[in-house]
Symmetry: D2
């Protein structure tokens, strides 16, 4: 942590800050400059509030040096974490593809989609039973019945199940049916939910909120890790910007940035990331080329009849094309579809 | 709803879309242009999914015309809604000021602050018992003990209590102690929480998520209204932009925009909106001048010792100065501090 | 400037950086922490490239401490700069209102508007002779003829003239006719233009680019100041964000931020800032309440016939109402319309 | 164009708008809905101002249907435009790589870099002689001397030259030396410059402004095309968002979006797009996988000594690694490095 004093700060102002730093159990090292004095602070800055120093008289700024997260950092763990979901390793050499409908609608829809994506080479099946919708008048999901249909699809196809959990009170129920529990973008900072998920023994798919910084994203992972669950997969799904030709701006830059700063796997959701079915294939290729460990893609037997997200869903044949394109890029990257 | 056909769409392509619109129970009116055909659609477009039409062959775009919200709209209700919180009317001629600490920390802190803000003319007392924090290592609030301290402060000062509720499971407990239940920015689209709040008989303070559009903001209000609770106060608290000199970008433009589109009251939070105690006074004045119905401001007996948000909290004397400045502007607006 | 070393940096890595700092003519002061070492650097960091240090081996980050601007800073000049435009002081106790059409269209339009805004109390007349338009097919301004019409309006009304200059080659021509030369938002970083303007003896109105940070904005002012022209007025006119209900997001937070960091006057353009005539009045009030030194507003005799920006222009009667509202707020602020 | 009437608009209000549309030479087709009436308008909406209709009484909104650009659109020209730069085709099957220093500094630096990037397989040489810098105190380029050094490098290596032109007055001079004239991001809407470039016979590299929408980007291309120069290459170089781990947010989504809407080639600048040399390789791979026609990358013999942009420049060996990685992806895409 570095304390920047105002240019007019007197010696006694500086002495006061130095004393305060010591009282907080940290070691101050003032550096007297020509225009202003800065004070280097040694010790674990995460244990104090920045305000305890920034609001002292004649302090201009306090600059943290340490990353706010620990367990999620590459420094804490050098090698890549590999998360196993229903036998599928995520974060290793293989590239995974999670596919399925936005919402679970009917048995026929789920089973049909499961079989189609399995045949095309998908690694896991996604489907929403609980749906966070912008409108109270929109379809909100089948709830527990949806979970049961997903479980039935797993029985038939052997594909592990990925589904969203929306509140702490539902964690146990969802964990009973799912192999990978998804935290949606809107819930990335639902700390009650994150804490509940930190206590279970199932892997978590943590989606980035559409206005989350990298620090905030990794701090949400830190909630889960610090509670005892180290099976976290990150997921980029688009951020909110001024851009209007995509529903969100898929931010692939975060993929190599996460690879440098963290040991956790990261996958990409080009369906939500672009909101346009016609951009899913190129952005999926780009995601793998940027170094992502996998994709999560919406697939529907008949997108124009989907209860939700039809505009960003692939048909079965479009999904087969996607798999073929993605395989070429994965191969060029020295990886394979697992 | 307007359907824009691609420029090369044939007559039979158009006929197919027209049939589909009819099958959905709506009335199509094609307008044949030189470059392309558009189809005006009569009927309540909120009842169908946009994708049911946008994914039909040779459709280029589907443009909704109706606002997605109904109950929150000025068209549904012409006159301003006035929400009564512990006897204080919000949304009428008076301008309210909610003040208090970010977090409830100790009895002395809460009672001291309550008395100070009451003496300075505050309308209601705020304080957080449940705190959604970015870091799992930061203070997470006193929980129920915090609620009890707030209730004690109400007894002593007569000020109504405003506090945050973070999940559906805690709504009843918080409603037992609070006069106005706050939905934090991170929970603006926690639909489980919104639904639970729609079933109680207490007013709700709905904070705008830092990346919410106006439509999304009003749709979250619609969740509460549509469940039967019509006592909703909106709150602008800053959006996330590229700007770096404020923690968030306080977006005062939404105040007159909400006044045009909705009948609900709207207040402004300059503490979170700027993240800087030294910008609170000018931005509070500006908020009132823009037409806001009130302010919610963080006040702490000793901001540099605050457990949270010290950098954006006012001291008691700074709060008294704020009240004096705000009164001048309210008067110029033909309003008073209520 | 502070250099943050990587956690694994050895003593010799640190020594290497220390030597390099010395070679650049600055004084290094290492502070050896538990997790990592930081090196405080004394001297004028503006004279070196950040990369000269950040790319050295085992350096994690280099953090500048000094503001990049000097002449524009409050530290360089404590008292407010007052810029005189055709006898009107800007940045003093008075609040100024610049008003007029977006584009100069006809003699009748300019003279009519000039007289109307003068009668309503405007301080200066604005009007565009050179128009930077998004579309090559849109009206690009009358050019020199437009300048002459503006000069004629000055003769008739006595109002000083504010108009945009778009390139270095036109500076002299525009300076011959105008009292205040405007740099448009798109040209805020047109360094050739800024340098040319730094050499003339007329005041400059520098509009913030819609994605400029505060540092970038003040650095553009620094271009003009450092070339010898100290007559610069800043202008906030809205930034680009995800928000859709306004054309831009008028960022009033920059007004008090500039007042702290700089001695230059700042005015606000609610016409471009919101893009909506129906938001101009409330946002103008808010701008003055935030501490702005004035407004620049588009006024047109018949906005629906305007060649440009009609949606954000006021009619004559709406402008009179604006003046009356703004006066109330200015009075409450202890200021007057000058 | 579609006109949406307010819900309370009377028949005579609608009739008034209908008359006005006819007077403007367009054909109105009202569609009478339950909640509100909309009026479809037939004819070339680009010829009128939106305000001519949106400001009529009881009009709620006017929605354009046609794209604002014509010559840049895929509808105007179905097949891809291939731009030839010093014999190198851009926009065809080959993927091009433009490489070189941010600024031309010395003869040794330019010639050395030119030879190194040529040996590694680069298609063209970049280098800045005129530099638009945020700070007036930073290196502003060698000007004409820089152009001459670039020309010398072309003589020696045979590589075509890409360099920036900053104002209309310099177009002829730069065109005398360069093979591809670059319009920098800050100048994307410098309409004087765009018009001057539309009159020359050299190809133009048009960089996207960091807050430009796709429509604005293509409209800037339209300026050049409409003046008679059809040799335009687009370049994505990062947009400004709230994200802090990259200098800009490289928006690869625009690559497939441009491919759908326009016939113009598009390349990607991962140096400016990320601002970090350690993200250039993954994001270059991703750019090619997204469908980009090429890359423009900063290379410097010794980045920590660079006069500008050192943090985002590759060393010679890093550039060789980039070429090898990019070739793999290009091959997987069925393309080659040309």
């Amino acid at each position: 942590m570095i304390i920047v004093m105002k240019s007019h700060a007197s010696e006694s102002d500086i002495a006061h800050v130095v004393e305060r730093v010591k009282a907080l159990g940290l070691n101050p090292h003032p550096v007297y400059g020509v225009e202003r004095t800065i004070i280097g602070v040694i010790g674990d800055e995460r244990l104090i509030q920045k305000e305890q120093l920034s609001l002292l008289p004649h302090v201009e700024d306090v600059i943290p040096i340490l990353k706010p997260y620990k367990l999620a950092s590459r420094e804490f763990r050098q090698e890549n974490t590999i998360v196993h979901v229903a036998g599928v390793p995520v974060g290793g050499k293989g590239v995974i593809v999670i596919a399925g409908p936005c919402s679970v609608e009917t048995e026929e829809q789920v089973l049909g989609t499961a079989e189609a994506v399995k045949a095309a080479g998908a690694s896991l099946l996604r489907g929403g039973a609980y749906k966070p919708r912008t409108s109270p008048y929109a379809f909100q999901g089948l709830g527990e019945d949806g979970l049961k249909l997903l479980a039935k699809a797993r029985e038939k196809t052997g594909l592990g199940i990925v589904t969203e959990v929306m509140e702490a009170a539902e964690v146990d129920l969802v964990a009973d049916h799912a192999d990978l529990l998804q935290v949606g973008a809107r819930n990335m900072q639902n700390t009650k939910l994150l804490r509940a998920l930190s206590k279970i023994k199932k892997p978590i798919l943590l989606k980035r909120n559409f206005s989350a910084t990298l620090n905030e994203f990794l701090m949400s992972a830190e909630y889960i890790l610090s509670g005892g669950n180290d099976q976290v997969i990150l997921c980029e799904r688009g951020i909110r910007t001024f851009v209007e030709y995509t529903r969100n701006t898929l931010d692939l830059n975060i993929v190599p940035a996460v690879k440098q700063l963290s040991h956790l796997p990261i996958i990409v959701d080009p369906s939500h990331g672009t909101g346009r079915h016609d951009l899913i294939v190129p952005m999926s290729r780009a995601a793998i080329a940027a170094g992502a460990d996998g994709l999560i893609v919406e697939v529907h037997p008949n997108p124009s009849e989907a209860y939700s997200d039809g505009e960003q869903s692939l048909t079965f044949s479009a999904f087969r094309e996607l798999m073929s394109e993605v395989k070429c890029i994965a191969t060029a990257m020295g990886r394979n579809i697992s």
